[in-house]
Amino acid sequence: MTYRSMCLTLLFMIIGCSSGVAEQVGEAGISPANTVWMLVATALVLLMTPALALFYGGLVRSKNALNTMMMSFIALSVAGVLWPLIGYSVAFGKGNAFVGDLSMAFLNGVGLEPKGAIPHLLFFAFQGTFAIITLALISGAVVERMRFATYLIFIAIWSVVVYAPVTHWVWGGGWIAEMGALDFAGGAVVHINAGAAAVVAALMLGTRRDYGRQALLPHNVPFVLLGAGILWFGWFGFNGGSALAADSVAVLAFVNTMLAPAGTVLVWTLLDMVRIGKTTAVGVATAIVVGLVAITPAAGFISPGFAIVLGALAAAPSYSALLWRARTRLDDSLDVFAAHGVGGITGALLTGVFAEEAVNGIADGLFFGNVEQFFVQAISVIAVFMYSALLTFLILKGLSLAMPLRVASKDEGIGLDIVNHGEEAYTSGEGALLLLDDEAPGVIINQTNREIDSGSKLPVDTTTG
């Protein structure tokens, strides 16, 4: 509470402004400084999802660029609608140790009253941006083959039955929070959670048609670098904002977010040098993300020196996971597991090693004599991973009984941009005939060709019925 708002409150109370008393008391609990920072942080985290779209979009083939980016962008809407309707309440409602209740469904009772030192509605919005990006992260495991409609239903269900309960465990007063596990900004909630879902989803869908037979190369590496850069920028809100205040812990998390990926990139490029004699751009982009993921659970608990060490240590596990994965039949296409799963696990465990009570007064880790913290971290990692994996399996199994999970093999050849969206990322417009209103979709186009090709199922069928 600031001096100024205290004075104002006192003034109003002295004057006895009867109608405004309740409201004034509410305002009084809110810090303008914290509110400003959290407004900015929320916008920063929201920007991470379009950034992820660029990162993922650049890594796929050009015929699937829009589909891949849409999988991230549509999460803005899916979680954007479901989070206020039900997700937020399941995550932060009182409930029991495992799941929140529905007392705050439809934003019931979520208004401008203080939650901590910021308006409750702002806390809700900040948390909502985390739900959005977690859904988008999973898409990296299923790109270039998953049917878009099935993906939509999958992430909608997943956001409520996986994301929200796990958030409740860790941040909503659930059992992992009770146990004392440290997860500053979502190493378990966001990254291990999405990483586990990614492995299972990739296994359930099967490999891309051409996986293992052809080289499936990134079509735009500058996109990948730009995406990684904007992710880093947004991550200052992700980690810095997780202090939920404009205070010294926010500064610590902010600085650690700057330093840790630097350590990861350094080691990653050295590993690249040793292995292939060259430093790769896709490698640097990946290392930035791995470093950011790894520092996420630790950001507000460790000193900046150890942040660089943590970032450096996080490189090798993810680097090896990437190399191993590419030699298997596990087509986790954009390596969500290696980057977010392995990176998240490394970060969560190292949080239990480098946490320092002297830094922010919460807890010591293994390195400072508190062995128990390390095991508490390990339990939280295993629990989140297992729950996410199991539920992802059940959701996809259920969906597979009702609808195809992936597009037809032939449509994979054409590319999902045309098949699922009726657009192309890079079209010259050559040979495109403008359809006027009376011949727009709904009217059969080019009768002769339809007869020749009556057996084919190109997308025009869906628009002409």
């Binding site: 037979r213 032939k410 054409i414 079209t427 040979g431 186009i445 080019n446 084919s456 997308p459 025009v460």
Partner: protein
């Protein structure tokens, strides 16, 4: 000597190349082209604009071969390029008057025989 010109689906290119290499056909030129071959158009929508894409992305292969290689080359492309749907493409075989290898000045059959 023949010039074999094949127009195929872009996503069959890797398989076709593999099949050609398998038959020892190593000299070829690949170009990205757009064309129309009787397959159904796709309809795309950009905001209020609906368009019919008349031209489809294809890949064109130009392969100069000596007589004994004509059949194997055509077979390889037929097998590896086929999906069974309209739009798989065409193969044209032309007679060729003369061929030179620029590096050595070799002519005709010698010019298209792979260097060992």
């Amino acid at each position: 000597m023949r010039l074999i010109k094949a127009i195929i689906r872009p996503d069959r290119l890797n398989d076709v190349l593999k099949a050609l290499y398998g038959k020892e056909v190593r000299g070829l030129t690949v170009s990205r082209v757009q064309g129309h071959g009787g397959e159904m158009e796709t309809v795309e929508t950009y905001r209020g604009t609906t368009v019919k894409m008349e031209l489809t992305e294809k890949v064109m292969l130009d392969i100069g071969v000596s007589e004994p290689f004509v059949e194997p080359t055509v077979e390889a492309i037929l097998e590896a390029g086929r999906t069974g749907d309209v739009g798989d493409g065409k193969i044209f075989v032309f007679p060729v008057e003369r061929i030179y290898r620029i590096r050595t000045g070799e002519e005709d059959k010698a010019a298209v025989t792979p260097v060992k």
